[in-house]
Amino acid sequence: MWSMNPIRLLKGSFRHGVHPEGHKEQTADLPIQRVPFGSRYVMPLGQHIGAPAKPVVNVGQRLHRGQLIAEPGAFVSTCLHSPVTGRVVSIGPQRHIDGTFTRAIEIEADPFATQQLAPSPGLDWRSLDMVEFIDQVQQAGIVGMGGAAFPAHVKYSIPEGQQIAELLVNGAECEPYLTNDHRLMMERPGALLQGVGILLEKLGAKRATIGVEANKQEAIDILNDHLGPDQPIRVISLPVKYPQGAEKMLIKAVYGKEVPAGQLPRDIGVAVNNVGTVVAIADWFESRMPLIERVVTVSGPGAAYPANLIVPLGTPVREVLRFCGGLRPETREVVMGGPMMGSPIASLDVPVMKGTSGILAFTDSETARPREYPCIRCGRCLEACPYFLNPSRLARLARARMFTEMKAYRVTDCVECGSCTFACPSGIPIVQLIRAAKDNLAHEPRDQGAE
C-alpha cells in the first residue's frame, strides 16, 4: 500500500521548515529524576482538548494516589486521577497558564503517605474488544502527550469503513531544548515497545514506525537493540528540522504522503502518537497506572540546574523549579512547552499538566525582540512555512485587517508552528498576527448570526 517515492526516500523529510539551534546538550545526557512529593497539587478540569472533566469527589474527601477524581464531561473528554494520596482542599478557580482562572481540584498531599501505587498484575488487554479497549484508555485519562493533549481514546475510535494500516510513533522532538521524549526512549524502551505492541494489535495496524530525529542517535540504537527479530516495528532516523514533530510533517517525512488539508492522519490510514502517550498506554495496561505523572524537561539559560524530571501532574511550576535549583536572577520569561510553540506563563503557581513537556526559562538575550522593520518581501517566511502558505502576505493582510481575504490565502491551514516568525529578518510577529486574525475570524460568523 505504501509506495515510497524514491526522491522522498533520499530526502527523507518534509519540505521547508527551519533549523533553530537545538540546545539539547544541556539536558540530553541527564537521566530522568523523580521530583519528591510536595504538599499542594492543582488539577485543572480542562487540561485536555475537549469538554472539561466533571469532578466526582467532594471538598474534604480523602484520596489515594491514582484514584479517579473527575470523569469525562463528554465523549471528547477524559478522566482525571489524583496524583497523590491526600485530601481535596477545594474545587474552584485557580490560575491558568494564560493568566485567566480555570476550575480545578486542589489537593493537599498527605505528608505521611508512602505515595505508592498498589502493585497490580495489569490488564489482559488481549481479551478486550475494541469498545472495551477504548473505554479503558479513557478510564486511564490518557491524552496526547506531544503537546496537543488530545484525548487518546478519541483518536483510536476509528469510524466504520476506515482501516489503520500504519502506526507512527512520534519521537521527533523537534522543539529546541526539550529532551523528555529523548530520555524516555532511552530509559524506557521496553515500555515503549510494549505500548507499540498493544496499539499495533488493538488498532489492527500492520506495521509500526518510530520516527526519531538524527540528533537522538543513542535512543535509536537502544530501541533497535530492544527490537525483536521479526517484530513489525522499525525505527527511522530523520534529518533534524523543525517542525518535524507536527504529525502531518512527520507523515510526509516517513511515508512521503500528504494528509489532505482538513483531514486527519487516519483518513489515509495512519495513527500518530507521541512516545510519551505510548508509554502511558503501556503503563496502564501493564501496571494499571493512570496518567498521573509525566516527564518534563527543565532547561533554558535561566534554569539554574537543567534536568529531566518525572513530575506528578498538578505540581506547581514553582515546586518543580525549586527542586532543580530555581531560576537564575536574569530570567525574564518562563515558557511551558517548547520555545517555538509553548506558552509563556504569567505566574509560577500554574501546575504541570498532561501536555506539559518542558519548563523553559529564558533570559534577556533570547527574549529581547529584534527591532521591527517593514517586510522586505525576502520570502524567507515562505521558505520556512511547512504548509507552503504565504506568511508575508498573511501578515500584511492581517495588518490591513483584511481578515476575509486571509481565508483565500488559507489562513485556516496554518498550524501556528512559528517557523515564519523565526525566519523573518524584519522581526515581524507573523504567527502572532495570524493568531489574532484567526481569533477575529472565529468570532465573525457568530456576529453575523446575531444580526
Partner: protein, 339 residues
C-alpha cells in the same frame, strides 16, 4: 521561598529567532560592494568616490527630509537608503556631473521609495527608477562614457563632474565606446579577459565582471539573496543569446559576451535580487529571472538601445505582483495554491 518571583514577561512564542536581520542583509550588500568601489576608483580616479558620495547624499537627504519624524532614525538605521544611493552611483557613467548624480539619488528615493511608503512598500527598484529617470532626463550625459584609465590618473578628476547645476557638462577627454556600444553599432567584439578584469568603458560598477561575481559569491554564502534570480537570468540570457548566435554568429554575440558585457552581471546579482521588488515565491523567482534574461537579449539584439538590463528589471518589477499572484506555492495537503 523568601526570594521574590521575577516579573515574568508574557511574549508569545516563538521565543527564538534566526539571527539575520534586515539591516544585516543591507550591510552585507554594501560590504560586498566595497571592492567594486575600490576598482572603480582605480579605473576612473577618485572622481568615482565623489560621484558615489553625490548619489548617496541625494538619496539620504531625500529620505531624511520626506520621512516624518518618528521614523527618521529607523530609515537611516536600516541602511537601505545608503544602499540605493550606492547602487545607483555604481550604475552611472564616470564622467556624469555631480549635480545630476545628486538629482538621480533624490529621484531614486523620492519617486522610487518615499511616495510608496518607504522601505518594503515600493514596487520598483529605487536605484533603477533613479537611473531610468536620469537616462530619460539627460540621455546624452548618461551615454557619454569616459575611458577607463589606470592608477596614473588616480588623482585626476574629470572636469565634467563639476558642471554647475542645470548646466551642460563639458568633457575633457574623448568619450570611449563601451563594449556593448562597439558590438551594437560597429560589430566589434571585446575580449573576455578584458571584460573580466574591467579596464573597459562603462558604468562605475559594472566594468569588472570578476569583482561582481566575487561580491555575488559573498552574498550567496551569507544567504542574503535569492540565488535563483541570478541563476535564472544567466541561464535564460545564455540560452536565448546562444540560440540567436547559432542563427547568425556575425550579428548576434554569443552567450559569454552577453553575460560578461554591460551590466548584466551587476544587474543580475545586485539589482534584480532586491528582495522588495522581486517575487516572493521560488517559482516566481525563476519566472522573474527568465523574463529578465529574455528581455535583455531582446532589447540588446533587436532594440534601439545597446543595453537593456535596467529596463528589463524595471519591466519585470512591474510584472512582479502578477507573478506573485500566480505562483503561490501549492498549499500542503491541497491541490492548488491560494488566490
Amino acid at each position: 521561598m523568601s526570594r521574590k518571583d521575577p516579573d515574568l514577561l508574557i511574549q508569545t512564542t516563538p521565543v527564538l529567532r534566526q539571527g539575520l536581520t534586515t539591516p544585516h542583509a543591507m550591510r552585507d550588500v554594501w560590504l560586498s560592494l566595497l571592492p567594486l568601489v575600490l576598482a572603480a576608483t582605480w579605473f576612473f580616479g577618485i572622481g568615482a568616490l565623489l560621484l558615489l558620495s553625490a548619489t548617496i547624499a541625494g538619496a539620504l537627504m531625500t529620505e531624511w527630509v520626506f520621512t516624518p519624524e518618528p521614523r527618521r532614525r529607523d530609515v537611516i538605521r536600516d541602511q537601505s537608503g545608503l544602499l540605493t544611493g550606492l547602487l545607483l552611483g555604481l550604475t552611472l557613467p564616470p564622467g556624469l556631473p555631480l549635480w545630476m548624480a545628486f538629482l538621480g539619488g533624490a529621484a531614486a528615493i523620492g519617486l522610487g521609495k518615499i511616495i510608496w511608503g518607504g522601505l518594503g512598500n515600493n514596487l520598483f527598484n529605487p536605484a533603477l527608477v533613479g537611473r531610468a529617470f536620469l537616462l530619460g532626463t539627460f540621455p546624452i550625459a548618461m551615454t557619454t562614457w569616459s575611458p577607463a584609465g589606470g592608477p596614473g590618473q588616480l588623482f585626476e578628476i574629470q572636469g565634467s563632474l563639476f558642471a554647475l547645476p542645470f548646466q551642460s557638462p563639458v568633457y575633457d577627454a574623448v568619450s570611449s565606446a563601451t563594449p556593448l556600444g562597439l558590438m551594437k553599432f560597429e560589430q566589434q567584439s571585446t575580449g573576455l579577459m578584458r571584460l573580466m578584469i574591467g579596464n573597459t568603458g562603462g558604468s562605475l560598477g559594472e566594468t569588472s565582471g570578476f569583482l561582481v561575481l566575487l561580491g555575488g559569491l559573498f552574498l550567496l554564502l551569507r544567504r542574503d539573496f535569492d540565488w535563483r534570480i541570478p541563476a535564472a537570468i544567466f541561464a535564460s540570457a545564455a540560452l536565448f543569446s546562444g540560440l540567436l548566435h547559432l542563427v547568425d554568429p556575425a550579428r548576434y554575440p554569443g552567450p559569454l559576451f552577453t553575460l560578461f558585457s554591460g551590466s548584466l552581471l551587476f544587474g543580475a546579482i545586485y539589482m534584480a535580487t532586491d528582495p522588495v521588488t522581486s517575487p516572493l515565491s521560488p517559482r516566481g523567482a525563476w519566472i522573474f529571472g527568465i523574463g529578465i534574461g529574455l528581455l535583455v537579449v531582446l532589447i540588446r539584439n533587436f532594440g534601439g538601445l545597446p543595453e537593456g538590463v535596467m529596463y528589463a528589471i524595471l519591466l519585470m518589477n512591474a510584472a512582479t505582483p502578477l507573478i506573485d499572484r500566480y505562483t503561490q506555492p501549492r498549499v500542503f495537503g491541497r491541490k492548488a495554491g491560494p488566490g
